[in-house]
Symmetry: C2
Subunit: 369 residues, 2 copies
């Protein structure tokens, strides 16, 4: 009476989800939780998105328009492309899975940075592919490492730009030199989940390279667009790549409320600009205060900051939680003495810094005794 799973799955463990806002409120007995562990926007949802959802509610008993035509047309306009250059996913996570299903056979290799976003690995593992790690150097991309990792069996190569959890980015010159040297059998997956926050002048949007290289750009509505709970993201690539991904996409893979909300946020320039401003202000403040505290941190082009706490991050995550603040522990990225903090609103950033100072000073006092 037991049915064995495929052998390729032997090492895969089910994902253990973090606690929900409600659960954390119950656990801590607080209602003032500052959630800074998921890189969500601190602004709440876009008012335009909410309006679009409310208007669509009477039709939620109907199946979605399964090609998400209207949203793709809007994205095409935004990027100067055509609707056929886009695939909409149940979060970018689904597009990542579709990429593995489409291109990775057992034994094929996929090059993935370290540390980086964990989700790139799942799809590859399911397909029986081989993950080839490419370490970042001092949390920065050195694309030489990625080039050296390429073999005849390499199918995909993931670049998260800016990188999660480090905030580092690949500049235009480095990316172009890399693309010119990369063998033509490798598909570059340029995950731009955080690119909306990038301000560096030499930050290179992947869209500029689609015509000359094998690239798919991944974008999400979960961060600056404020729709993480609705699960929607997309891939942008040449038609051939999109066509092949559509072979494995389920019809109706994305819920219709996400699609109408995404369209609405694309028009909400006021909301998006406020997001950029808030992040810019927070970054300036945090750079200054963390420097004053003598903490080591990585420069960021994203909406989070990666910093060295010189203590066990598991302990710090627990101690910050007791004060009502959730941060992401670096142990999850094999850097146990670092944490990732989501840049929030000014008063929230101040609370974070104040609380971090108190918690770290407790550690110092304890180590002195």
């Amino acid at each position: 009476m037991s049915i064995e799973p495929r052998k390729a799955l032997a090492k895969l463990k089910p994902y253990l989800p973090g606690k929900s806002k409600k659960e954390i409120e119950e656990q801590t007995g607080r209602s003032d939780i500052l959630r800074a562990s998921f890189n969500e926007t601190p602004l709440g949802p876009s008012p335009r998105a909410l309006r679009a959802i409310r208007e669509f509610l009477p039709d939620i008993h109907l199946y979605p328009e399964g090609s998400y035509k209207s949203l793709r047309a809007k994205l095409a306009k935004l990027w100067g492309r055509e609707a056929e250059n886009f695939i909409i996913g149940d979060g970018t996570d689904e597009v990542i899975t579709l990429l593995a299903q489409t291109f990775v056979n057992p034994g094929d290799e996929v090059i993935i940075g370290e540390p980086t976003f964990g989700a790139y690995r799942l799809g590859v593992a399911i397909q029986g592919g081989v993950i080839v790690p490419a370490p970042l150097l001092k949390f920065q991309y050195d694309l030489e490492v990625f080039l050296n990792a390429v073999s005849g069996r390499t199918r995909l190569l993931y670049l998260c730009n800016p990188n999660n959890p480090t905030g580092a980015y690949i500049d235009k010159k480095s990316l172009e030199a890399f693309l010119n040297r990369l063998p033509g059998h490798v598909l570059v997956v340029l995950d731009e989940a955080y690119a909306d926050y990038a301000e560096a002048e030499d930050f290179p949007p992947g869209n500029d390279y689609l015509d000359r290289y094998n690239i798919i750009v991944l974008r999400t509505f979960s961060k600056m667009y404020g729709l993480a709970g609705l699960r929607i993201g997309y891939g942008l690539a040449n038609r051939g790549i999109i066509y092949n991904l559509n072979r494995v996409r389920e019809p109706f893979n994305v819920n219709q409320l996400a699609a109408v909300a995404a369209e609405a946020v694309l028009d909400d320039s006021e909301y998006l600009e406020l997001s950029r401003q808030t992040n810019r202000q927070g970054k300036t403040y945090l750079y200054r205060r963390l420097t004053e505290m003598g903490l080591n941190f990585s420069a960021t082009e994203a909406n989070f900051i990666w910093l060295e706490i010189g203590a066990d991050s598991k302990q710090l995550v627990a101690d910050m939680l007791a004060e009502g603040i959730t941060v992401r522990g670096g142990y999850a990225f094999n850097n146990p003495e670092w944490i990732r903090y989501t840049i929030s609103r000014q008063e929230e950033n101040e609370r974070f810094v104040r609380t971090l100072e108190i918690v770290l000073s407790r550690y110092k006092a304890a180590s002195r005794t």
Copy 2:
């Protein structure tokens, strides 16, 4: 500059979605479209679901609680099971894909009825599995055919109960005899998408058999529960099967509005009862009228009726659409002279019958000249 997909995908074509409500309104210039091609509820969404969604809207910028704990707990209570017996999917379609990813290696066999729901095939094809067809006999299940199709390489066997598109069901005695004879290496997937509508006294809910046999029951919120646009369904099985499916499930695979809406509909007994009543009334009416018209149809335990029109269903679908009614053509199920009509509200069913009479009489007149 081209990246080849896996060879296993060579025969897969992207899904061509049907037109949305809005597109059909534009195409026909009508606002009175009767949409009877997707087996959606004719009642619109549950008021309780709408309320739950509205209340949750301020939090849609936050990632979902990725284990859908609260919904699973509610389902556990409903079915007399535990939360660990459930996996929540981005529609039942996703659970179907996860099943193939978890259990089907290249060359493994999956037995699928004919005609039946088309989505069972996609996941199997992606995995390089072999689809073994098991024809229904006069649109009824003969499980002998399924037993004869079993080989040493069979991994999954799909039973859609009641069956889409025929409405036929497998009775308790037949199912039990079948389960007792089925070899232990085969996992039975009992798709109960339409079981909420079943009224036959000997209809066997799959939940009764989970402890003794290798079964996973699939249920959806897209039909009677009125949430097709939100994409949510679930699998119900023993813990071992659910654990293995969770190995390949993406974190946050289901949007949070779907999860809160699903919980709310589970409590909306008034709405569900109205759905059952409406369907019962519609069935009685349609049985009578279609018989009067001399049309051949299949008895149904679902919310649709499968009927023989004695004409090309592609043509009929177009002619009905011109009158503002969408039905599903049997050509999509290799039965070109049949159609599937979603049982709707009384006045809508009357309109369907009236329109069908007119369209069919035109065909008769044309064949006489």
